[in-house]
């Protein structure tokens, strides 16, 4: 492999890793508090991408405005899902809530197929983002920089919220000990709603940037990335935001590099994440940074 090819692969890997990180955060936050694998999180990528698509092409809104509206809409959808499909099951066995999550995911995908048809649509990439910049002879699309930059900013913002604001402290308290936090007067419902809003908004940003990077959108576009991001969250240590970021980043980089160095296994690219998952669960179930959650006998 030539150096220039390596660098362009690396740029690609870093931007994919950033996207994974962004989406993985939503999984890890929800799991941390509710111990729920939010399958529907994956499909919020799709919701956001289509919202932005319709904003630009149908309602003729400026790109930035459509993106903003798409993020708000997706956050709303995320909150609504929690309220309607998860909240009534909060005291049921965890598996029941997971079946509900599977159902919601299935519902969003099929709704997408009905509303938007299965035919992929071309996402309108603004000229500036689609263009490339030459750095030392290597062409890198501008969207690559944007992805990395936006991810970094959002991450810092999120860490600030989690560690410095009252709401963030309430979130961490809930994640640590749900019942005690509730008894100590944490407003559980609104904190959970906010968690879903934040996670969904991040997924929306991820989904839109995903659509900018791979500008063919379809109703099932979120499924595979979503699963991989959950895997990234598990790999990094579920419940831990920094772990999710690291896990997403490593997974994205490893995936691209694997295919770059071993083109013969490219057909198994999607299997790679699952192998990581199974290996993590078997050998280090707490992930890279996670804490052990034991059962009381």
């Amino acid at each position: 492999m030539t150096w220039s090819l390596f660098w362009s692969n690396l740029a690609n890997a870093v931007s994919l890793g950033s996207l994974y990180s962004l989406v993985a955060i939503g999984y890890t936050m929800v799991y941390g508090i509710l111990r729920l694998v939010n399958f529907a999180h994956a499909d919020l990528l799709m919701v956001a991408a289509y919202a932005a698509f319709y904003g630009v092409l149908v309602f003729r809104l400026p790109f930035a405005i459509s993106v903003l509206l798409a993020i708000v809409l997706t956050a709303g959808v995320g909150v609504l899902i929690e309220r309607r499909a998860y909240r009534p099951l909060r005291d049921s066995p965890r598996i029941t809530a997971m079946i509900s999550a599977i159902g919601v995911s299935f519902l969003l995908e099929n709704l997408g197929l009905v509303l938007f048809t299965g035919r992929p649509k071309s996402f309108p990439v603004p000229g500036f983002l689609g263009a490339s910049t030459d750095i030392a002879g290597i062409r890198v699309t501008n969207i690559t920089f944007v992805i990395v930059f936006v991810t970094a900013i959002l991450l810092l913002l999120l860490l600030y919220v989690i560690h410095k604001t009252k709401t963030g402290i309430a979130m961490r308290a809930l994640a640590r000990d749900f019942d005690t936090a509730r008894l100590m007067g944490v407003d559980v419902d609104s904190v959970i709603s906010l968690t879903f809003a934040i996670g969904s908004a991040l997924a929306a940003v991820g989904g839109i940037m995903w659509a900018l990077k791979f500008p063919q959108i379809n109703p099932l576009m979120g499924m595979m990335p979503g699963l991989k991001c959950f895997i990234a969250a598990v790999f990094g240590g579920i419940g831990n935001v920094v772990g999710a970021v690291i896990g997403g980043f490593l997974l994205g980089v490893a995936e691209i590099m694997l295919v770059a160095f071993l083109p013969s296994v490219s057909g198994y690219r999607d299997a790679f994440a699952f192998i990581i998952l199974i290996a993590t669960l078997l050998f280090r179930p707490t992930g890279l940074l996670g804490e052990k959650i034991g059962e009381k006998v």
């Binding site: 099951l89 997971m98 599977i102 159902g103 519902l107 995908e109 299997a271 078997l282 179930p285």
Partner: protein
């Protein structure tokens, strides 16, 4: 006591004879007395319903009775479907289908009857089940679910990539259409009876004990890992057989058929029928299959004289997924919960009605 036993046997014989006559009628085996066969489309739906019942039963054994949440069913179905198909396809058909890359020797010349092929399909699927189960069943709850989902996806990707064995993404065509109602209902009833015996036996009690409280079950001397694995192995065998039946009914298969939505649909059936209820799974399988067909209406244009209402393709699946959420949120126990439909509770409302009549 003996009269009750005799009554039971008579009831079984009556049901068996009625069912056999119905199947014979539907399949056209009674054409010599001038009745049947039934409409081919309707028979096909019945076949599908029976196969879906087999798949739902096998998922229920693991998810409902043992309480181990697996999402890997599509993978085992794929293994069974491919194994069976590759064994029953004729050498000429294999040559035609594998036009991109020739098939492995000597598999390209092998062609065996359907029954052994179906059983081998189940056995191979069972082997995969054990191989997946040994690592995965050490996990619990949602981690198990995600891990089995991952294994199923890996199986599917392998099927898609090992072209000389599976013809890759193009899939298989020309699988002999051997199945009929005798096959599908025969297998369905056999599986149902076997499962019923199994869950009522001491083994079933052990599995339910694991579901109810794993720690307590282990401290009552039950080797929980072996029992989970046993349930998983039986389930993957039956799923493989279900996949084989499905392949023969559809005559074409490809890897995309065995993606996550297939597992979701079986899960929907199990949840709808009630986790831990065998009869519930069977009833739900028939409801879901027939609804799938009847709801075709909403996807096709409806003509009312001069007006016509445009159908909406894909709406059926929206209805089903919404149904899954509604059932889980509002009726998490499904149709039957973990109860079974028996003669007693089937006849009791009737007899109660009757008694009330008499009283008044």
């Amino acid at each position: 006591m003996s009269t009750r036993g005799d009554k039971g046997i008579i009831r079984i014989i009556v049901v068996a004879v009625v069912l056999a006559l119905l199947l014979a009628w539907a399949e056209g085996d009674l054409a010599f007395i001038g009745i049947g066969p039934w409409d081919a489309y309707f028979v096909r739906i019945l076949n599908l319903a029976a196969i879906n019942a087999v798949l739902a039963l096998s998922l229920n054994l693991v998810n409902g009775f043992t309480g181990q949440f697996s999402l890997g069913h599509a993978g085992f179905m794929a293994v069974g479907a491919y194994t069976t198909s590759l064994l029953v396809m004729t050498p000429q058909m294999k040559k035609t289908v594998f036009f991109m890359e020739p098939m492995f020797e000597p598999l390209d010349r092998i062609c065996i009857p359907f029954l052994p092929a179906l059983l081998i399909g189940g056995a191979v699927s069972c082997v995969f089940g054990v191989l997946v189960g040994i690592p995965a069943l050490r996990l619990k709850g949602d981690y198990l679910a995600i891990a089995t989902l991952g294994f199923a996806e890996i199986i599917r990707l392998v099927l898609q990539n090992v072209r000389r064995l599976t013809n890759g993404a193009l899939g298989l065509k020309g699988i002999p259409h051997v199945v009929n109602l005798w096959w599908t209902f025969g297998v369905g009833i056999a599986v149902f009876l076997f499962f019923r015996g199994f869950v009522r036996s001491s083994f079933g009690r052990a599995l339910i004990a694991i579901r109810e409280n794993e720690t307590a079950a282990e401290l009552m001397g039950i080797d929980i890992f072996r029992h989970k694995l046993l349930a998983f192995a039986i389930s993957s065998f039956v799923t493989g057989v279900g996949g084989g039946l499905m392949a023969s009914l559809l005559t074409t298969i490809d890897p995309v058929m065995f993606k996550l939505p297939t597992t979701f649909q079986i899960l929907l059936t199990v949840v709808l029928g009630g986790m831990g209820s065998l009869s519930g799974s069977v009833i739900a399988a028939f409801i879901v299959t027939f609804m799938t067909e009847f709801l075709r209406v909403v996807e096709e244009p409806i003509h009312l004289g001069v007006w016509s209402i445009q159908g909406i393709p894909g709406l059926r699946m929206v209805i089903f997924s919404a149904l899954l959420v509604i059932v889980v949120v509002f009726y998490p126990r499904g149709l039957l919960g973990n109860k079974e439909l028996t003669w007693e509770n089937l006849s009791s409302p009737v007899s109660r009605l009757f008694r009330r009549r008499v009283a008044s």
